[in-house]
Amino acid sequence: MEKELEVITLGDKDYFILNEVKRNGVTYIYLSNVEDRDDTLIRKSSKDDDSIFIPLETEEEFELACLLLFRKNKRMK
């Protein structure tokens, strides 16, 4: 069995998009480096262009992104 994942490039590294959550017009994407499974991170869509994904701005926003994913997964179970 295989799973097809979208890939996004940050700098010179490719990342799988493992999951995504939308909240108040912002999309959070949860990424895993194609070449390094330990390189996991989160990006959010830019206000100006929702196809551009930028770093989170604050620790609170990081917590919010984690809470959103945790809640989404809880509801899916």
């Binding site: 994942l5 940050l10 493992l18 330990d38 996991t40 770093p55 984690c66 809470l67 945790f70």
Partner: protein
């Protein structure tokens, strides 16, 4: 391409690394054109890395609920926060002139309330929304910022509108986090009571 699938247990260092990478580094453009097929077990292994870190962050967040989080109702809004600030900190420092024609503020006392509020920037935002640019400047003369213009400049805002937009977004984000923490705490409590019921039934 090596997709190893060892067991993964997240710890605080992993979370810190994810937090650091999430808040720095490059932006990227999503084209919706590049897809890769990977084995399902590899996909699940990748998800586990993320899920372990997220579970750790959220467990810390939820454990904060009893002491640190204010009660938040569904229709809790920035306006409600503004009304509370107005009632508690501005009205008591608003006085009629002797001729009863006008009113004035005790700027120094309001400045003291900004310090007492607990979140100085949020307090300045609520004050600014309540009494406007000029009067906020008069209050800030009694603080180390000396003026609203200096305050905005030191905080890196272009102007009053930029400040208001950013602060409003920050307050709403804070409210969302509080609401989700409560929701997660309720889910956790419900899960624990279900678990207890199952154990009790055995």
């Amino acid at each position: 391409m090596a997709y190893e699938s060892r067991e993964y247990n997240s710890n605080v260092n992993d979370v810190e690394a994810i937090r650091r990478r999430s808040m720095s580094g490059e932006a990227g453009k999503r084209t919706g054109t590049k897809y890769v097929k990977i084995p399902l077990d590899v996909y699940k292994a990748r998800l586990k890395v993320l899920a372990a870190a997220v579970a750790l962050v959220t467990s810390v967040a939820v454990s904060c609920v009893p002491g640190a989080i204010k009660s938040v109702s569904d229709n809790w809004t920035v306006n409600k926060l503004m009304n509370e600030f107005h009632s508690e900190y501005v009205i008591p420092e608003t006085h009629r002139t002797d001729d009863n024609e006008h009113f004035f503020y005790d700027y120094d006392d309001i400045a003291r309330h900004l310090e007492e509020y607990g979140d100085f920037d949020e307090a300045v935002y609520l004050l600014n929304r309540d009494i406007g640019y000029y009067q906020t400047g008069q209050v800030l003369k009694w603080t180390p910022y000396e003026s609203f213009t200096n305050y905005l400049s030191e905080k890196g805002y272009e102007d009053e509108e930029d400040f208001q937009d950013d602060m409003k977004a920050q307050i709403i984000r804070g409210i969302e986090i509080q609401e989700m923490r409560q929701e997660l705490a309720q889910m956790q409590a419900a899960h624990e009571s279900e678990h207890d019921a199952v154990l009790g039934g055995k």
